[in-house]
């Protein structure tokens, strides 16, 4: 079946009208860097397509202590966000320059592992997803967004319009292991953020993993194991071991499941060690 129409709405309202009319029959393109690959290969042939490039959803605003990032803000722009160095670092690790100019932040939430590095950083930053439908919007934590491989909590008439990120506390590190230094999907990615008190005791921790399961996930037991402890060799070793238990990676052309699980431990250890320096 050939594609019959491409809609290019010029406002968020127009996009939501189209979505409410066509629901799941409408394939949504942010920058197109994931879906156009499948269309070019003939792997998918959507009847209807909507590009959000002109929908006016690319604004980035600082609002009382948090950052509101429009769904279609490009990864190139996100890579320049000095208020969110962890997210900026993750964006810089995605694709090449041309891909980052096209790919969008919200689009990155919909690409299955081993892609989706920005989503990993957003998890470690307690980001919230703003989902809109014609009748109104709701806010859901990113931890409740992912439901399975390429499956989300969005209804058929819901659109991600914005991603809100609180001003991060603590120290954070993003690490990506790929098969090349740049422009590579992930063997494993880790985004780690630790808040410590004046004595160096961990009072809060986030350990988010990419390419370690069907979707970006948080290793909550690894986070818990750091609670009330200093970041030292024993606590870091424990957290890395718990993170390996949380990982349920897949095997693909880049890496085997076995290797990925090993590298989850290595990346979490290295990220936590980097925070102590």
């Amino acid at each position: 079946m050939a594609t019959e129409a491409m809609f290019i709405p010029e406002s968020p309202e127009a996009a939501l009208d189209l979505l409410s009319e066509h629901g799941r029959e409408l394939l949504i393109l942010g920058g197109g860097t994931a879906a156009m690959v499948l269309i070019n290969e003939g792997a998918i042939s959507p009847r209807l397509v909507m590009s959000l490039q002109r929908a006016g959803l690319n604004e980035v605003r600082a609002v009382d202590g948090h950052l509101e990032i429009g769904a279609t803000a490009s990864l190139a722009r996100v890579a320049q966000l000095s208020a969110l160095p962890l997210l900026a670092d993750a964006a810089r690790h995605i694709g090449g320059w041309a891909i980052r100019n096209m790919a969008t932040l919200a689009g990155n939430l919909f690409v299955p592992p081993p892609a989706g590095d920005a989503a990993v950083a957003l998890l470690a930053l307690d980001a919230e997803v703003i989902a809109a439908r014609k009748s109104g919007t709701r806010k859901l934590p990113l931890t409740k967004f992912f439901k399975g491989r390429a499956q989300t909590a969005l209804g058929p008439d819901e659109l991600v319009t914005r991603i809100d990120v609180p001003r991060p506390s603590g120290a954070a590190v993003f690490l990506k292991l790929g098969r090349r230094r740049m422009n590579t999907p992930a063997v494993v990615t880790a985004a780690v953020r630790v808040v410590r008190d004046g004595q160096g005791i961990c009072v809060d921790a986030r350990i988010a993993l990419g390419a370690a399961g069907e979707y970006p996930l948080r290793a909550t037991q690894a986070e818990a194991v750091l609670q009330g402890r200093k970041l030292d060799t024993p606590s870091i070793t424990d957290a890395a071991a718990m993170a390996m238990q949380a990982a349920h990676p897949s095997s693909d052309a880049l890496a085997s499941e076995w290797y990925r699980r090993k590298m989850v431990g290595v990346c979490v250890r290295r990220a936590l060690e980097a925070i102590t320096r």
Binding site: I8, G32, T33, M36, E41, G96, W97, A98, N101
Partner: protein, 157 residues
Amino acid sequence: MQTVSFKLNGKPVAAVVGPVESLRDALREKLHVYSVKAGCGQGGCGSCTVLVSGDPIVSCLMPARVAEGLEIITLEGIGTPAQLHPLQQAFYDNFAAQCGFCTAGMITVAKALLDRNAHPTREEIVEALAGNLCRCTGYLPIISAVQDAATRMNRGG
């Protein structure tokens, strides 16, 4: 099929395209711009890179319809056989092309880099070109050519 109009290398053009036809195919097959190479079709090789409002993008992943009203620059808009851009001369002098398939994309990205940063470090050149694959040269002459072009342009030649 619908008509899309945009500026190509400074001149207004129009083409009749399918709903999800890529900008790459529209440029090659409708507008006969053959410096834009059809490589992987996955955004992975960079050989179809063009500049949109000065920013490099891979034209295989942009639906042509999305280019409505935009300013597109291809290699044809960077230099001509009679008047090579310093990057093209530097690629020639540094033996930075072998089969030539990646060359247009490489020069297009390098142009965008030098437009923003007249004195890039070697690492900055590598980062800028990371999305462009070359299967012949091993990259070293390409990186040297971009450095050489920057030096020439900074001297005013």
